[in-house]
Symmetry: C3
């Protein structure tokens, strides 16, 4: 198993991993935006002085479901992607994985937040998982147990 | 602190880390399976054309709780495990940590989904945490602050 | 892009990353403590023999929200921080990032659990995000796409 940081694939991995993690973190801002504009807060210390009671709202819950789905899929991609980069894949194959995953998750987010009719969100979700599983397969073929 | 990728422990870490991340991702398929067979969807665009309204179901919620517990425990294991591998542990000690954690989380998942009577699930949960804390201790003893 | 594990910044990154991950995992113990002392369990196999029914409680939900917020912020910090360390930052700049983030998240946790009046929690939250975004910017400037 080759090194990862002296690897020609690594600077590309760093880029796409950072993009999808930033996209995940953007969901926090999206949640805060909906909470402030709709005055929907769940903690009593947040509602204090605003004249509202703790409550929930479908717009906020939708963003939060999207955020949780990102945690369930983007974090595994970054972890598996780092180990995959260490297996010394060809640059072409690695870029194909990174770019398809990034595109799929951006589609997933747009489809979730607008929302777009299904199966757009389901497509982004399943393509992302298939990319991660393909990288996982490469790791398992190059590892010891 | 020795390197991680030119480390004899790394190919083993790659294997066990990938196995537990794939196990976590398998919860997504389990959730989808329960949603489709029980027709339980939370988004209006998912229920469209199925003749059902958005709803929740205990079978789906149970899988989702198991998935969240995996995120809370498996992701820290992989992050801490990578840093632990970089401390240059002996192969025997590292394999002991990786294998016990993997076994504990598989027990946790089986105990959660069947479900098995307690304390089976609690045992898988606490053993996993103790393994991660033991690796964290090794890192803290070999790091600077 | 320089290596990460032969990097003078790495032993410091290992320390602060481990501290914030352990802090995140401590939320599990906090949840268990509230569940046991207030007899609040969500799974039927957990309430069996305790003479209570599955229920929820605001103290437990508050800790769980704090835990989820940690997952949404601490995990991205560790992933982005590892890639940032690989870009070969100066030790002074890196320590500034790691220490401010760690302090911000400890403030966030204290503010969430006591709770302290706002904007203490919001301050810990936003400072943590700004630190991670600053590191992400360094990665994007040093990566390829």
């Amino acid at each position: 198993m080759a090194g990862v940081f002296d690897n020609p694939v690594f600077p590309y991995f760093a880029f796409y991993a950072t993009v999808v993690v930033l996209k995940t973190m953007a969901m926090s801002f999206c949640t805060v935006f909906h909470r402030l504009t709709k005055k929907v807060f769940v903690n009593p210390e947040d509602t204090a002085g605003r004249g509202v009671k703790p409550s929930t709202h479908e717009s906020v819950e939708r963003v939060r479901r999207c955020h949780l789905n990102d945690l369930e899929n983007v974090i595994p991609f970054v972890l598996i992607g780092l180990l995959y980069t260490a297996t010394g894949p060809s640059l072409g194959s690695a870029l194909l994985h990174f770019r398809i995953f990034t595109g799929a998750r951006i589609l997933h987010t747009i489809a979730y937040l607008l929302p777009l009719p299904q199966p757009s969100r389901g497509l982004g979700f399943i393509v992302g998982i298939l990319v991660t599983m393909s990288m996982a397969w490469s790791i398992l073929s190059n590892s010891k147990y």
